[in-house]
């Protein structure tokens, strides 16, 4: 029984809010069937299917070494862009963000919680993808730390784009747009099909897509064992530097 309603207002420490927010967002992601399908099931299925020789031939005897970095890029795009955009779009539609805006939770902590939840989801995804990769005889090369930097930058770029879409378009439009863009980037953005298979003129443009940069960078590191993929890192950095401020600028909370 509540004995007193005497006022005792005050905001909790940010660290406590961030922990609670992250944990809530993460649990909600895991509880949402479509999100789990998008971020977990589809990448694993695609990993399996793209590795089948009958689908199309990759000019590479070690198909799996191409497929795993691609699927990691896909997983990042699914969680940080499509999943975040759709989830946030509907939260906007159902006044979740508006209601949270009337609490002591600062926007920066809300965004921080969402970002950490996405990173947690990605960690789970990557563990599963790599595990299935190893089962299918994947042999990674290169520096795993570089791969993690690419994943982090990719998350920033895709997350910014996802929030930009979710914060400016209606939820239903966001749903359609996020899925469509996901599909386009999957096939034309250097993930499912290597950009080397496109004509030079197309490749010149397509290689600057965030998916292409992330996928290309991961291939250079994990497949070819090369050093720092400068252009991929700079491309992702540029996307993040444009998308995050744009999202902050144009995001409408209601």
């Amino acid at each position: 029984m509540i004995t007193s309603f005497a006022p005792a207002p005050g905001a909790a420490p940010r660290s406590r809010m961030l922990a609670a927010q992250t944990s809530m967002e993460f649990r909600l992601l895991l509880r949402n069937g479509e999100q789990v399908g998008l971020t977990m099931v589809i990448p694993l299925l695609l990993l399996f299917f793209f590795n089948l020789p009958l689908l199309y031939s990759l000019n590479n005897p070690r198909r799996i070494d191409f497929v795993v970095p691609s699927i990691v890029a896909l997983a990042v795009m699914s969680a940080a862009f499509t999943g975040l955009a759709i989830g946030t779009g509907f939260e906007r539609k159902y006044s979740v963000l508006k209601r949270l805006g009337a609490t002591a939770l600062p926007r920066s902590v809300l965004i921080g919680g969402k970002t950490l939840a996405v990173l947690l989801i990605e960690a789970v995804q990557i563990v599963f993808v790599c595990a299935l990769g190893f089962v299918l005889a994947w042999h990674p090369h290169g520096d795993p730390l570089l791969a993690l930097v690419l994943v982090a930058l990719g998350t920033a770029a895709f997350g910014g784009l996802g929030l930009l879409v979710a914060g400016t378009l209606r939820a239903e439009v966001t749903l359609a747009a996020a899925n469509l863009i996901w599909l386009i980037l999957l096939f034309a953005g250097g993930i499912a099909i290597p950009l080397t298979r496109y004509p030079d003129s197309a490749r010149e443009v397509l290689q600057y897509l965030p998916s292409a940069a992330l996928s290309d960078g991961l291939h250079q590191v994990l497949q070819d064992g090369r050093g720092v993929p400068i252009r991929a890192l700079l491309t992702l950095l540029a996307w993040a530097a444009v998308a995050l401020p744009a999202a902050a600028r144009w995001f409408r909370w209601e």
């Binding site: 007193s4 006022p7 005792a8 927010q21």
Partner: protein, 311 residues
């Protein structure tokens, strides 16, 4: 000398325009700390618009708004922990979260929150603590919404139609909460379509229509002003009422709208009733179906805002 501004909420000449429509049109009100103010008004009168401007969700078009002495938008970060909010018509939390989970999350934003389990029990939702918010019934969602507004121990709460969709028990419970909030020094601004609710809870009632204040005062002041009340009775038709009116206080009227049905208007008091029954005794008639009708807040409301339906 008294401090210049001690109001918990002070709204001066507020205007908010949507397109060409003035949703709020020069509205002013003042809520003393620790009091309960009820906003009454037909659909579309501007209650939610006014409340949401005070909550910092919408920008005022013109006029000034001070909440706890601060600007709702510029000082939002300072105000938010101190103010509890119940939005009209939606919980506005993660709909996939369970009831207790959402209340715990909101508690984690506050420095000294109420115990979420106790509070959920207090609003009668202990049995559905593990039910996802989107599966709660409308009235249950309202109760959760109330708990979310209170969990951070705010000093001021805005409750936009807090009892809409609640069953009578939940309404009574909510009233009890609001009385306890007031007793413990919390300022409450609420809107409602239930006139009995305003009458029961509010220190000040503000009736608004088309974005303007059409009446303000305590419930007693509002129901006292204007025509006072009436007494109806039935008796043999054709009584000579002139002699009755002569006995009554100044300003009272008596009429026979239908044969055998009588209507007495005036300040309803024990004396008036005594005068009437004495006069009946003198005439040798038995007044039947005698009923005393005091003016209710609903009568005042309908007088002020008209009887036709709003857009």
């Amino acid at each position: 000398m008294a401090p210049v501004s001690t109001a918990a909420v002070e709204v001066c000449d507020l205007v908010k325009t949507y397109g060409t429509r003035r949703a709020v049109d020069g509205l002013s009100l003042r809520v003393p700390p620790g009091s309960v103010l009820a906003l009454l008004g037909p659909n579309g009168a501007g209650k939610t618009t006014t409340i949401e401007i005070c909550e910092g969700f919408r920008r005022p078009g013109a006029g000034t708004v001070r909440v706890l002495g601060l600007d709702p938008i510029a000082d939002a970060a300072t105000l938010r922990p101190r103010v509890g909010v119940m939005l009209q018509g939606s919980v506005g939390g993660y709909t996939g979260a369970r009831a207790l989970e959402l209340l715990r999350l909101f508690a984690s934003y506050a420095a000294r929150p109420h115990d979420p389990v106790e509070l959920l029990d207090g609003v009668g939702l202990a049995d559905v603590a593990r039910t996802p918010v989107k599966r709660l019934s409308g009235g249950q969602q309202q109760r959760l919404s109330l708990a979310l507004a209170l969990v951070g121990r705010p000093e001021l709460v805005f409750l936009d139609e807090p009892t809409a969709g609640m069953d009578p028990q939940a309404r009574r419970r909510t009233w009890e909460f609001i009385r306890r909030l007031r007793a413990d020094g919390v300022t409450v601004v609420l809107s409602t379509h239930f006139l009995d609710e305003a009458e029961q809870l509010a220190d000040t009632v503000v009736v608004i229509d088309a974005g303007r204040v059409v009446a303000a005062g305590t419930p007693a002041e509002l129901t006292r002003s204007g025509a006072e009340g009436q007494i109806r009775f039935r008796a043999a038709p054709g009584l000579r009422l002139e002699s009755l009116v002569a006995d009554l206080p100044e300003g009272s009227q008596a009429s026979e709208p239908e044969p055998g049905r009588y209507l007495l208007r005036g300040e309803v008091s024990p004396q008036l009733l005594a005068t009437l029954t004495a006069w009946c005794a003198g005439q040798g008639v038995l007044a039947d179906h005698l009923s005393v009708e005091r003016r209710s807040l609903e009568d005042v409301f309908l007088e002020l805002t008209g009887r036709e339906l709003r857009a």
